[in-house]
């Protein structure tokens, strides 16, 4: 009996320890009676709220709510001023001037001034090792300065074509919070769980042990306060529980409904499921690494034959993949820039996709000299069309896609063997080892075309670079560098479209589909969400959402 008492005491002590640990921030502020609280369920938790070292999308969701940027992407894909009321660029394209809105306040009541914004940008420029995540956005920036308390100038060493996009990722932090750190390590170890920003919501509680975040509406927000009083973020570790929480009303909004559950969620009472065109793409990578790559590529040599690549493209029924794998929640893919980027401005509508036609695929291969053997597999000069078809094991819908693709390709006389591979091993296999034939993988594209275009440059096919196909085309590389400095959007569009055609015709990638964003919310609790490619959970949407009366 004494042992049991001891056990009970031990458990009680543990409970005290588990629950009594204070959250990372101060206790919640005094809330008004019955605040209107929107509860969001999500599958992650921000590991840091320090923009210097943030890699998870959850961190960026919080940055959007708590901080502000000079410009931001709007629902139609264009850029609009946020902290900046207006912006202009000098004739030589090297000096950008931002006029800040008057009367912007930090969450602590202090006024924001241009010196503080300049301090931020100069810190990113001068300490790229410390501000690791910001450093990529300020390449080519030389200096920022405040000419008066409301005017900011940024100097660049060359004209920057995507300046609006770049500054839309530079979250302006409260300088006193960040001034003290002397080494990159100290700066990055600062988790900043009580951020002071200028954004529409203020952090009141961030409990990393319970994984709950409470944010109050900022009544002094410069664009007018949100119509709800409070935002609550609760973490779920599996999608079934998340969907169940939405069904029983434990949460009001989920920004990540899995493909497989979407139909079921659409049928829930008082729940609206929305399928919005997004910015992600899924592609088939064909090993295009140069022959002189070190280490030498390990692949089926037939992949270097453009006719074989064309035949593979002809044998893939992309619409079928969308209908079966995504259950209709997406569109078939063509080029590496999804149709939503810049509201469709960067999508090359002139590219005609190869039509699915198995007879044509067989004819192309026959003409190219690949004859069918007795086992139905084609062969030319001793090279059999037998290939590996690998995909990362953490993606739930790739196995189905791989099986469907294997069946079509078999009918064209190409034998592929689907295989799930650990994603870390697959990174190494594609770059730098070049040891693969075909890989299914995807990207979440940036709002600007620059990143997706960079993935195809030969400069990125180095260890730590982003190229996985190994595509090498000097004309493409040259255009890539040129488009970075084209301030005239029409001129840049022409260059981008030309690059998209090169990739489409050379086929290091066959883009399979663009997946939709699947989200859902409780219609009995909230209304007036903004349905657009930036999602119903974007800060713009949360600013206008209202409780159902």
């Amino acid at each position: 009996m004494r042992k049991l008492t001891l056990l009970a005491l031990l458990l009680a002590a543990l409970m005290l320890n588990a629950c009594g640990s204070a959250p990372a921030t101060s206790a919640p502020a005094e809330a008004p009676a019955e605040p209107v609280s929107l509860r969001v369920g999500w599958m992650g938790f921000p590991d840091t709220l320090n923009p210097a070292y943030a890699f998870l999308t959850e961190s960026y969701t919080m940055f959007d709510l708590v901080y502000s940027t000079l410009m931001t992407e709007s629902q139609d894909g264009s850029y609009v001023g946020l902290l900046a009321e207006s912006r202009s660029v000098s004739e030589d394209g090297l000096t950008w001037t931002y006029k800040l809105r008057p009367n912007i306040q930090w969450h602590n009541g202090e006024a924001l001034n241009a010196e503080q914004v300049a301090w931020n940008i100069n810190a990113f420029i001068q300490n790229p090792d410390g501000w690791a995540t910001n450093s990529g956005y300020v390449i080519g920036f030389t200096e920022a300065r405040a000419t008066d308390s409301n005017t900011l100038e940024i100097e660049t060493e060359f004209p920057v074509s995507n300046m609006d996009y770049r500054v839309s990722f530079l979250y302006i932090v409260y300088p006193p919070d960040f001034e003290a750190f002397s080494t990159p390590e100290d700066l990055q170890n600062f988790t900043n769980f009580s951020p002071i920003g200028t954004g529409p919501f203020k952090m009141t509680v961030l409990d990393k042990d319970q994984r709950i975040i409470l944010l109050d509406t900022n009544p002094n927000y410069f664009e007018g306060p949100a119509k709800i009083d409070q935002l609550v973020y609760q973490t779920f570790d599996n999608t079934d529980a998340l969907v169940q929480a939405l069904k029983v009303g434990d949460i009001d909004l989920s920004g990540e409904i899995p493909d497989s559950a979407f139909a079921a969620v659409s049928g829930f009472e008082n729940v609206k499921a929305v399928s919005l065109p997004g910015r992600s793409l899924t592609e088939l990578i064909l090993n295009a690494a140069p022959e002189d790559h070190d280490p030498a590529p390990t692949r089926n040599p037939a992949l270097q034959d453009p006719q074989v690549r064309l035949a593979i493209a002809t044998a893939l029924h992309k619409q079928d993949l969308v209908d079966v794998v995504l259950q209709g929640n997406g569109v078939s893919g063509v080029s590496i820039i999804p149709p939503t980027l810049g509201g469709g401005y960067w999508y090359n509508k002139n590219i005609q996709d190869v039509a699915f036609n198995l007879e044509e695929a067989n004819r192309i291969l026959e003409e190219a000299g690949y004859a069918k053997g007795t086992d139905g597999i084609r062969e030319k000069d001793g090279i059999r069309l037998e290939m590996r078809l690998q995909y990362p094991s953490d993606q739930s819908n790739y196995p189905r896609a791989a099986d469907m693709m294997a069946n079509w390709l078999a009918e064209a006389g190409i034998k592929v063997t689907p295989e799930a591979v650990d994603p870390d091993s697959l990174v190494v296999a594609t770059n730098p080892n070049a040891d693969y034939d075909l890989v299914i993988w995807g990207w979440g594209s940036d709002p600007d075309p620059d990143f997706m275009l960079s993935v195809m440059t030969s400069e990125q096919y180095v260890e730590g670079g982003w190229s996985d196909s190994g595509y090498t085309n000097p004309a493409y590389d040259e255009l890539y560098l040129a488009q970075q400095q084209m301030i005239d959007p029409a001129e840049r569009q022409k260059a981008v479209w030309e690059m998209l055609e090169m990739v489409f015709n050379d086929r290091p990638y066959i883009v399979l589909w663009y997946g939709n964003i699947l989200q859902a919310y409780r219609t009995d609790k909230f209304t007036n969400f903004l349905e657009s490619p930036i999602g119903i959970d974007s800060f713009q949407s949360l600013l206008q959402v209202e409780a159902v009366p």
């Binding site: 790229p128 450093s135 988790t191 319970q210 169940q244 190494v428």
Partner: protein, 325 residues
């Protein structure tokens, strides 16, 4: 061998095992394919190769595994420091401690209920051998033991949240976070019902089966016959002579299970979005966060080895035959 010698030998063996495990862990994670810097930053779009190189340098990954990385890690451990997690950017010991409380609370409750119920049911089944009671308890235990954790959890979650209004996940409701413990106890209890129930059902079968076979064996012994012949009541026979002897295998099993407790019940934690050590182990592995992985596996190894040591020591205390030898 004196008792002190025996103890000393057991403890030094345990320490030696921990040392070996720590060394194996150091090597094991470095054999994994992939690049930890890439794993930590994910497919993040704006980290240049130069910044990645600077992070690699910060983590000490630019130096050879032997001797540099190895010596640096050993030096750190020798000073009692487990390092700083690369992905969470906090001291490893702090992270482990914060999750340990959650895990011990959940698994502790589950273990206590399953041990008590398991012993009781096992005792009942053994005592009422070959009756309806026995068959029912045996069937229930076998089914419970064989049920997939994830499946049982999801079924209980769906039923409990829809019919009983129990929470779908987490440890506390958002509005109660940060409040004093005594005011949120009912909410905490509500959150613990489903995961504890799942754990209890899953562990119960194992304890019940061992207890049943153990009591059956004991009840066939001569001294039980003697006790009955002395005119003791059935209850006295069972309690004083049966249970005390039959409990030994259960004690071993409890001690061993407690060792594995700190590894968390990863499936249960995942189903009920319960933020414990199991979930942490998984995150550390996917992020290839060497300091966190090493720390977590060291904690796991130490707990298992000490639980084994505890089982050995308990056995010496409980079983007079071992004491005599």
């Amino acid at each position: 061998m004196t008792k002190q010698d025996y103890l000393l030998r057991k403890i030094s063996l345990a320490l030696f095992t921990i040392l070996v495990v720590a060394l194996v862990n150091f090597l094991l994670f470095r054999i994994l394919p992939g690049d930890p810097v890439r794993a930590v930053i994910g497919r993040n779009v704006k980290i240049s190769a130069e910044v990645q190189a600077s992070l690699r340098q910060q983590f000490g990954l630019d130096k050879p595994v032997f001797p540099d990385q190895f010596l640096a890690t050993m030096k750190q451990w020798a000073s009692g420091n487990l390092g700083v997690s690369w992905s969470l950017r906090k001291p490893v010991s702090e992270i482990l401690l914060s999750k340990l409380g959650n895990t011990l609370l959940l698994i502790g409750l589950g273990q206590v209920f399953s041990i008590l119920l398991g012993i009781l049911l096992g005792l009942l089944a053994g005592w009422k051998h070959k009756t309806g009671w026995d068959v029912a308890a045996l069937t229930f235990s076998l089914v419970a033991w064989a049920m997939p954790t994830f499946w049982l959890g999801i079924i209980l979650l769906a039923a409990g949240s829809a019919w009983l209004g129990l929470p779908t996940g987490g440890i506390l409701s958002p509005q109660n976070v940060g409040k004093p413990l005594h005011t949120v106890l009912p909410d905490l209890a509500k959150h613990l019902v489903l995961p504890t129930l799942t754990l209890t059902i899953l562990y119960l079968g194992e304890y019940m089966l061992i207890m049943r076979s153990s009591i059956l064996e004991v009840l066939g012994e001569d001294y039980i016959l003697t006790a009955k012949a002395k005119g003791l009541s059935q209850w006295q026979v069972l309690w004083r002579h049966g249970l005390k002897n039959a409990i030994l295998p259960i004690v071993t099993m409890i001690a061993l299970n407690l060792g594995f407790t700190v590894s968390g019940a990863i499936y249960i934690e995942t189903v009920f979005s319960y933020d414990g050590l199991g979930k942490l182990f998984q995150t550390a592995l996917t992020k290839q966060d060497y300091p966190l992985l090493q720390g977590a596996f060291l904690l796991l190894a130490v707990s298992v080895i000490f639980a084994n040591l505890l089982a050995d020591l308990l056995y010496t205390a409980l079983d007079p035959r071992i004491k005599a030898n």
